[in-house]
Symmetry: C2
Amino acid sequence: MPLAQARHERLGKRIALAVFSSDAMSSVAYATEEILLILMLAGSAAVHFAVPIALAITALMVVVVISYQQTIHAYPSGGGSYIVARANLGTVPGLVAAAALLVDYVLTVAVSVAAGVAAITSALPEMSTHKIVLGVVFVAAIALANIRGVRESGRIFAVPTYFFITSFALLLVVGAFRLLTGSLPPAAPAQSTAVEPLTWFLVLRAFSSGCTAMTGTEAISNGIPAFRPLESRNAAITLGWMAVILGTLFVGITVLASMLGVLPTATETVVSQIARRLFGGGVLYYAIQAATALILVLAANTSFADFPRLASLLARDRFVPRQFATLGERLVFSNGILVLAGFAALLLVLFGGETHALIPLYAVGVFISFTLSQSGMVRHWWRERASGWRWRIAINGIGATATAVVTLVIGVTKFSHGAWIVVLVIPLLVTAFVMMSRHYEEVANDLSLEGMEVPPEFQHTVLVLVGDVHRGVVRAVQYARTLAPTATVRGVYVETDPARTSRLEEKWASWGLGVPLVVLASPYRSLLRPLLDYIDKIHARGDDQMVTVVLPEFLPRRWWQHVLHNQTALLVKGALLFRTNTVVADVPYLLKR
Amino acid sequence: MPLAQARHERLGKRIALAVFSSDAMSSVAYATEEILLILMLAGSAAVHFAVPIALAITALMVVVVISYQQTIHAYPSGGGSYIVARANLGTVPGLVAAAALLVDYVLTVAVSVAAGVAAITSALPEMSTHKIVLGVVFVAAIALANIRGVRESGRIFAVPTYFFITSFALLLVVGAFRLLTGSLPPAAPAQSTAVEPLTWFLVLRAFSSGCTAMTGTEAISNGIPAFRPLESRNAAITLGWMAVILGTLFVGITVLASMLGVLPTATETVVSQIARRLFGGGVLYYAIQAATALILVLAANTSFADFPRLASLLARDRFVPRQFATLGERLVFSNGILVLAGFAALLLVLFGGETHALIPLYAVGVFISFTLSQSGMVRHWWRERASGWRWRIAINGIGATATAVVTLVIGVTKFSHGAWIVVLVIPLLVTAFVMMSRHYEEVANDLSLEGMEVPPEFQHTVLVLVGDVHRGVVRAVQYARTLAPTATVRGVYVETDPARTSRLEEKWASWGLGVPLVVLASPYRSLLRPLLDYIDKIHARGDDQMVTVVLPEFLPRRWWQHVLHNQTALLVKGALLFRTNTVVADVPYLLKR
């Protein structure tokens, strides 16, 4: 579609909530479980810490969201951590934020899809042997949906998101009602034997695992330009809604799990167990599982909107290859989508499609970027000192401090469980960004026309590679003669079989169109060596020598016939690729059959 | 090395025996086992048929070998089935023989390697979980050895072959001695319950399985040119030796297995069991296992000598793509080697690296080619009617009849167990050969200069694709101007961002070297569409229109920088590939850093 239509691709608040918040909200499906999984290590009694931990995370989220609402208003054209950190703290902090986010986007896709598959296998245990395949298929499907375009993505994702919100709200209401009326049949709460003492470190580790619930908060502020005008206002409102819904669902599910005494098992998720207790095995149970699976698999979509957007910002600033800046055919960022899908699928395969295995890597990146972004905002207000700058600094300062502390907690408690991978990858990415940026800068200087004098004319030699004399070769010679005066055109024959030479020379005499033929001896039967030596000899005459190698190439009518031709041409092109002062020109000859 | 050295790559008889006979001889390692495996189906009593079956196969081998010795003398430059059948029976029989042999060469590699791995896992059961990986690694290693050159292959293979012959001879001598002196501790012979009645069909199926011992007999007559002069005489003598050694070992092992009451098991090969009984678990036992594994893994080498040779014959006659005819850098047939290794590895993976699973597919092809080759020889003598033609016809006639009957027996008894795959593949291959041959013939007619008139001069338009104006572009424009009069050269700029156009036009005015600039509007931001449309417009002017697209391309200094450039050039080349009357010329620009 034409550029002029891009504006109509903008999203309304309701659709935007679905597109940008499914990641954050979907974490309700696994965040509680990941908290319980750590607490369980200290035995069943320790799981009572789950509710306070969930409340603490929700409080932290409120701080971050309020902090981000300020950012959205300050950066209406998109206030992602990369932009804010780079503008206010400098290039390297900006790149650290960007690298941290890119890593976390990949993990969001992997974790969400893995958890979505877990929801399916909880309901249909016979599918559990196909976990990895299912995950990879889902990743591919989401990538495809995104390559088709952002508007259609909006529609695809709105229905499942609201289905998820509605069905989980129902779960909480039914749960609250049955708990209050005492109409729930009592069940022996699951027991878990302590394998570790209940330490503050363990509680903090559980808190770190639960913080995965907050990934995706960044999405909306990164995606402001996708909102309908007034973009900032709409984005800030949507962020608020998101926080309220997510907080309610997360605390609600954690309280339910705690009251019902549900503990994670290897085969069934916590949400699945809760739904089974409250709804039995009926339609409502399957609705909850379907909603969970859908929102999770689609949550990955948040990253598919944000990863390419961030990559294109980096490409615009020359920190990643330019092809990430290219808009695809349908105004979406196809290259970023493909890279994201590839890495996410790789992670799923490497970690066996297990949510628990991926969680320790997750959320490190996002909290690094939160911290940098909020710190950047503090600097921003300090520089501007517009009206109300004191309380604005206070808000973002609290956000920055809180997220900095949490980043440290997550890094330390999860380090040995996998966070070290992320801690290793982020500086590597930043180094790569800086190297690429430096290269592009040097190239720009290299290519600058400033002070350039037009070099003297080339001395042009045109060589037609001849294996046999036939119509295709005659055509190539004819073409070569249009390129340069006949005196500088040569037919070149590499003599791998001396018996054939005289016959070929005879044919050339009739059909060479007056162009001289050079026969290169090849005692080692190599085609390339003599040709390359000959070209080197021409180049040795001086820097102004330019050689064009004309290759007769066949165009067969059918696909399978291609493999039967042009092998020599391919070989020659490979050998001459990236040689300076050497140009290769294929002259196609259309085969009739 | 130069062609003149090729002669020195020739093999002496002793080395040739190792290179060309390891396939045939190595079958001693599994042929007995495969016979017993079928007979066991009718219970332990039926296994006494093994010795008569082995004797029958040996007798058949003597017939075939004598028959082949005649062929070797009649076709001194290589008397493979393809050549003999094609020359005497016609093209299609020749192609059937060729297809059958190619299929069997692949199977030889797969079966030999699988059996070699079985020898290893018999001695070292803890390796049995890595069967497939081991097999694929061996295939790759042999392929590599062959790509390095035939002389070195000879040396590599001589030691293991003679080690095998010596150690198996020792096994037979020790076995005979201990059996005759009765010094062997009596062991309860393994029992097997009958699951099928003992029918003639079953006995014939066992015979068919045992006939795998005869694959590889063809190798020597295919490889005559690799022998030292007098090639035919040396080849015929080597073939005789091979038959004597193979027959002795095969019958010997079968008799030993029978006398010792050894039956195949899932975890240990028959040879391993015999060696364990005779030598205990000591050094000699491991020597036998090592010799077996080595000869088997190296037996695959016979195919690596013969498959590329046959493929190159087919390529010379234009039945397979020409690249199979190309001699590699070290006078070996690299493409054939790679294809063979690829298919063999595929078979190993598909059939789980199990010898027994592959055996039903094996030997069908080789017996088809035996039959066609011997029938061809009958025709040959009949046509020539030189002195002694009557008894020559008799010998080859007996060979042809015997192998024809055995082909039928093998086909029928193994059909449902896997031979159907081969029966399906051979006609498919023949069809492909014929199609390719027909295509090459049509192309030759197409390209024939007969009756050709030199077409009128091209109307040449040169387009320089411009994304920005910099030193690389100036260089490309300069190059384009040498190709054609300035009036027919154009700079082409596809306007994906109208804001940049005027700035670019300004730069072009200073640096365009007088060449006009064409700006193509692109409302859909596609780079390719407007360019292709523009080229189409030029071509629409007439058949004599030739367009050269000049692409400025960057040559970075470091490998990782390549990915940062030339993406557009790649895209354009892809789109223009295989378009008639359109030539693409990359003008490289060397980046300083």
